[in-house]
Symmetry: D2
Subunit: 329 residues, 4 copies
């Protein structure tokens, strides 16, 4: 989380394409993209925290299933052993493992998040995207192909997702259909739980290391913003702001994209005359409107990619971390 915050803080002014359907869609700040990762992981943290709160009950005194003849003050022993409260029913305390399912579910959600982040690292490290260079410690060469620099760590973390999802399914199958109270099957609950925690933990460490040493290539990202007509929406917005019905504005924009594509140009490389052939409302001020920086800054709502919004989000995350005793500077 800290590494994401640091890299995001350092890349507020780097723009890259935001994608939908793996197609370039609209420009965003790299910091904004990295903060999306942070939000995903923050929710995972919240879920684990809820799980910890719910499971923090002391079963001591539940006996084999029917509690104990020993006159135990269970409220007190629970407190003294560091639990929030005693479990409520001796049979239930002995029989259930739903709290483990809950924790491993949260870990599976987290593992899927990591798989998505790693998918992006793998994409961004490809020659086709070329948005980043991972540090040597987190890539490997090839014994056969001396030119290669493979994002192995990201792939391994992505591959570990299956393991955690498998652990979750293991637990659910294990518990299915067991009558109360204790059955020896329950002894098998430990391997998947320990494995899920260990796996996600080590994945987080590896990912933090990989991100820390990653170099993001702002210039390549900027070049990618020039191609793919990410400013087509702006054309439509520009016209709409000048009173053109949105449907018509959208069609004009589409035609201009076609015209530019055929000419091998970007929209901004079309002359004012070429633009006006499709609609008379274009003026010289269309050109600054097509700048990626302008496009991003116009998206100035809470949760959006405009500079001050991203700065606010960084500060807000810093405060959340600070409340957990982690000081970012």
């Amino acid at each position: 989380m800290c590494v994401i915050w640091q890299q995001a803080s350092a890349h507020v002014d780097v723009l890259l394409p935001g994608y939908t359907h793996l197609q370039r869609a609209q420009p965003v700040r790299l910091a904004h993209h990295l903060l999306a990762w942070a939000e995903m992981l923050e929710r995972d943290r919240g879920r684990l925290s809820d799980a910890a709160r719910r499971m923090n009950e002391c079963p001591l005194g539940s006996g084999a299933l029917a509690s104990t003849t020993f006159p135990l003050d269970r409220e007190r022993t629970a407190k003294e052993l560091g639990f929030d409260r005693p479990t409520r029913n001796s049979l239930d305390a002995v029989a259930d493992r739903d709290f483990l399912v809950e924790a491993v579910s949260a870990l599976a959600n987290c593992a899927v998040h990591l798989s998505r982040i790693c998918e992006e690292l793998v994409l961004w490290s490809s020659q086709e995207f070329d948005f980043m260079r991972m540090s040597d410690a987190f890539t490997t060469g090839s014994s056969m192909m001396p030119q290669k620099k493979n994002p192995d760590m990201a792939e391994l973390v992505r591959g570990k997702t299956g393991r955690v999802v498998g652990d979750l399914v293991n637990l659910l199958v294990l518990l299915k259909g067991l009558p109360l109270a204790y059955n020896r099957d329950l002894q098998e609950d430990k391997p998947p739980v320990f494995d899920a925690f260990d796996t996600v933990n080590s994945c987080l460490e590896v990912l933090a290391g990989a991100l820390e040493g990653a170099v993001f290539k702002g210039d390549v990202m900027a070049r990618a913003l020039r191609e793919g007509f990410l400013d087509a929406t702006e054309i439509a917005d520009y016209l709409a702001a000048r009173g053109v019905p949105f449907r018509e504005a959208h069609h004009v924009s589409g035609r201009l994209v076609g015209k530019a594509a055929r000419a091998g140009k970007t929209l901004a490389e079309l002359s004012l005359e070429e633009l006006r052939q499709e609609h008379a409302s274009f003026e010289q001020d269309i050109y600054p409107a097509l700048e990626p920086e302008t496009i991003v800054e116009r998206r100035d709502v809470q949760g959006g990619p405009a500079r001050n919004r991203v700065q606010g989000a960084l500060q807000e995350l810093q405060e959340r971390l600070s409340q957990r005793g982690i000081q970012m500077t």
Copy 2:
């Protein structure tokens, strides 16, 4: 939940064997057993409630991924639309479905709980256990075998577990490895989510109906308590309370179980003389100590099966329900 409370309230004085390893272990109150089910379902409720709280964020204004140029007051629109707050990051809002995984995980936990309750209903409805009779509406006869009364509803609910666990795996596989932000794969998130909610909902309704009309056979349960040496622990406790080291007390108890088994008797049917052949400390007061009622009442700790503890647990559950606007009487 209400039906469990009602049946539990009505069966505070019915005792049955508590099982471990599906072996009769120690006597408990039927109400205590039913309240274990209630605790399981209450935690499921807590998890769904946490999930609802976490997901109650308004994505409006996230646009296609890069928010919107429209100057939206997202705090205000979120409140007006009944959300707790707006989502924090436009890319994340568009890309993630972890809140669905969380909700369906909670439902999968609940489905597994239902499978366990239904396993017990099926067992208890067998000729071998014969602890209950389900009402005709929730059983079926057989076209070929006129004597049969099958607990079909309990079996169907147990069978539906697979469906909900399958829905959960569906979602996790769906999300695995998707780059940000939106991908059309995400359209496939709805069928498993709706299916999981609908399935668990209808299972809960069927189960409530089945429990409402169920008749528990206290006399059969009482008979089961006589066989299986559920009072063997008491023998050991009795001796231990008279200063016999626990290890020795345990051995004496084991030998007496063997002796009684060979003689085709219960422990309480052994004469004082027979008991004393194994240890001199036995007195006449061993016999009342072997009564199931005594055994249960001696387990008088919080969360235990003693009468006042079960009454307390019933009242406490009643209060929880009352806070949710459900009045039990």
Copy 3:
């Protein structure tokens, strides 16, 4: 498999209730029941064997993905290395792991089979069923409850199912969405595969041991056949054979079950007069027709529980084992 065959061979003349919905339904031979287990496991064997056949291809010469410049005779090296043939496409050979999914699927099917067999062992070991006694090596006592003899091994094997199903899901999630050819994620294929084989292997060994020392209680099974009206079908068949329309015969049978149940009798304990009150067609020969042995012997079709059919099935299984070099005597 051998142990099942042995136990089945030794118990051709023991009858027990066959169950549907965990309700006693119709009598079968214990050998017939055990042979059902054998068939389940035989199919698992067939699946593993198909998987082995399909995967027995030699990837040597596939290189990193684009084969090799070395003039390899792949047909020959494949044969010499003990494979059936070389893989067909160098990219596919490097990229795919579907053969592992296939093998682990077969193992998951087997694990589910073992869970079902073990569920029966647990049921049959309960005081309620009391159909068998597992040997001491495969049960454990209780530290707290000296009377207990818990079927721990059967429970553990049942619990291991989750592990193998989890391994399968692990592999499927791992592979989902990976582009060709090799990705480092694939390194993670080994733990679930080895774990699934090891788990199923050790479960089979444990189960074989548990079955070998198991003592089946034919007398208790016989007693269970007396209760539960397993002969109700015979009443209907008896009447139908005497020209009574089946629907009417079925109703008569149902009414007689009710009458007997109210009187606390079995059907065979109803007098001829009582039977005739419901239908005039009953003769003295109804009584032998209600004997479990008669009932079973009347089911004399291939795959049925009649003595000669079960003997035939045993012999047929013996031959299958013999073809695999396993001599049963």
Copy 4:
């Protein structure tokens, strides 16, 4: 399958980079890549075919569990009803559904294959790869972004994988721990089975349509082959063939990659002098050796990408299809 064959036949002479770790590795023929997909799907076909063969047994005569008193010739009825043989054990026939698990496992394997193919279609349709253009019928535009052409069908098919894996887990959970013979839970086997078949079927149809209309961009692929040093292996091979120890040859190749990268050149753009600065063995014939076409043709082993090998593979697939009554021309 036919569409893959057709597209492969039409693209024997198109070269593209083969990838490992999503890094360009070595050139292959597009036909070779498409044939890798064909092999994956052929194995799925084989598995379904094995499953069909194994399950093609007639349960008629198994009755409720204990077969029937009707003197049925089960061999004959099985044949007449189109089955290969009757089931072997009446209890097993009623109780098991492993054949459904097997079929849905094969479908899950296939769904994962489709997810991998679709991942490649999505990658290849991105502006970064730009290796193909899918036909309009299988892409969608964007309401907000007029420039977009999203590979929705490929994404949807990829997303459906979760559904089929979920169906498989559904079945396994359903069956886990059920005692013999019939339990009503088994009624729940149908939805996941039908859903899995329907889903995979429609995915195959959609994919066939998408591939049929796809246009592959050989020129872009050729350009991608120029960058990324896919010929680095050839440098090492070239030297090794001239007696340079492989380890040294590999190091020379690595140094030349570094030198070329720094100079912004491809390996083939380095002068003979520049090459010789790293090793004296280079001659003029190194340049043709670095041509992608040469590289591919040197890989002339069975299953490799050389022209005649790919032609052979196409013909061999054509014959397999022909044996199934499908004539490709």
